[in-house]
Subunit: 330 residues, 2 copies
Amino acid sequence: MDQANHVLVTSTAFGVPRDVYAGELGPALRLSFLEDVAPEDRQRLLSEVDAAIVLDPAAELSAADISAMRALRFVQTLTSGIDHIPAALFPAQVKIGNTAGSTALPIAEHGVAMILAAYKRLIFEHNQLAKGDWGFFRPNRSLHGATVGILGYGGIGRKIAELLRPFGVTIEAINRSGRTHDPIDYCGSLADLGEAIRRWDVIVVSASLNSATRALLDRALFERMKPGAVLVVLSRAEIVDEQDLYSHLVAVPAFTACLDAWWEEPLKTGRPFSTRFPFLELPNFIGSPHNSSMVPSMPRNMVVSAARNVARFFHDGTGAHFAAPGDLAR
Amino acid sequence: MDQANHVLVTSTAFGVPRDVYAGELGPALRLSFLEDVAPEDRQRLLSEVDAAIVLDPAAELSAADISAMRALRFVQTLTSGIDHIPAALFPAQVKIGNTAGSTALPIAEHGVAMILAAYKRLIFEHNQLAKGDWGFFRPNRSLHGATVGILGYGGIGRKIAELLRPFGVTIEAINRSGRTHDPIDYCGSLADLGEAIRRWDVIVVSASLNSATRALLDRALFERMKPGAVLVVLSRAEIVDEQDLYSHLVAVPAFTACLDAWWEEPLKTGRPFSTRFPFLELPNFIGSPHNSSMVPSMPRNMVVSAARNVARFFHDGTGAHFAAPGDLAR
């Protein structure tokens, strides 16, 4: 056995070619794919692994597998969100890296598409036209002059701010630190949300799901929103109280909600798509099937982002991007 | 009677307050509203008028009225398009001003909304979700890297180029001169369209309707478009051959068309909305009821733009913006 650091890929999801992993990790790291490992070699190989690249590690590795990974120092996810990974799955000293930002571009485009579709009521008017109802005189809205609030100012949120700049909007953000060097109009922390949200015409949810953000947008905050506000949920639906959102949509017809992320998604539940309330029957609601990142470049970008972060970790333990441990599932 | 130039407003459409006209025209110009004029004063007043601000002059003025307007030098429309005004309605020496650009901002936003809605298939996926069909695995598209062709590079086209800049797209334009000082990637004239259109992922129609553009986009040009191209029609549907578009949509499912302007609109025809072909039954089609400019600021912006242009005309006959006479109806 050589002394090279050893990286184990536990999932080759999305069919990205193996040479993409190898190319980004470089020749100095040893690379194994779990699906190649013979049962009789599994324990020994796991004991040698310094880092793992994972998709859904609770499904890909057993408790015995993880116990055997005595040299493990770094777990790198292929995903940006890590709220599907139990906090107790790996020992506390194992650092976690995610692929934050790797899919930000298409998700941000999707967010802008939803904001504009809501402002222009594209879906409602299209479906009315299909019924022969010519909505020429129903008033339309310009985004120019609006205040856009971004809850969770990471890769997606920053890209949305960049895409919206020529639209003549005011950009306000909420992040963990309450600070940014970006040229936006306001940045606060979660403690400032209750006041900031009163100013927002558009509310973009691009935050991580964690104990501070779960069910954060509830009736109390909906009541502070402008009546004509547009809510766009891109990261996790669990940040929004499902029942309170539905009640608000029914009570305030001028308000619009756009969801790409949902509370119950087939990939999470194993069941067909459903909602507890009939959101999709409402005229002031737009839904998409969490496909904002599903562009052809996505799988490769995720693998490149993950493998690069692993390479940085071994090149310089502090040079890698680490996920916030608080974002792991409790 | 004083020597002030005399401006007659033949339509107070949209209910914009009269002081908006007066404020923009300034105290040096005499201002009358046709609806105030008593029948016995009509002939005399019309004979004194130097300029008229009109909406639909063929409906607002009779042939006898126009004959009486012997001092008329300038007709200013409240609209940007002038293809509803017969070329022979006013004497040839009367100059025509339009409000090009006054509604460009909301129309450009609408165009970007449609481009993104087409790329993200927002309407199709929303309606599938409403039927319980979870489209997570249907591939999505990023606008990043696309080539956007703008046919008619006036107020709307230039604003779309500006709004799309941070999306990482290549911008190409076709205008009358084939030249622009704007920082875009290519500018050609109509003679270049046949070659340019082969490069375009998005085709925005924001040209005036005239003899050179009527039914310009026909089967021959559709066959040159990329199979996955997105066509967005914002100015006049008559620039597109209705039957050829429908046939192309049916033959090429990857192609998407978005129409805000239509061949038969209730305001033009006096009949309910209808199309000769069932466009709205197609999954690769998005329609809106020509409401792209119908934002609250629109009527006032049109009046301000029109009155300012009239003030410029009298301040300096060459300082005003003149519409292209070829855009009048033949």
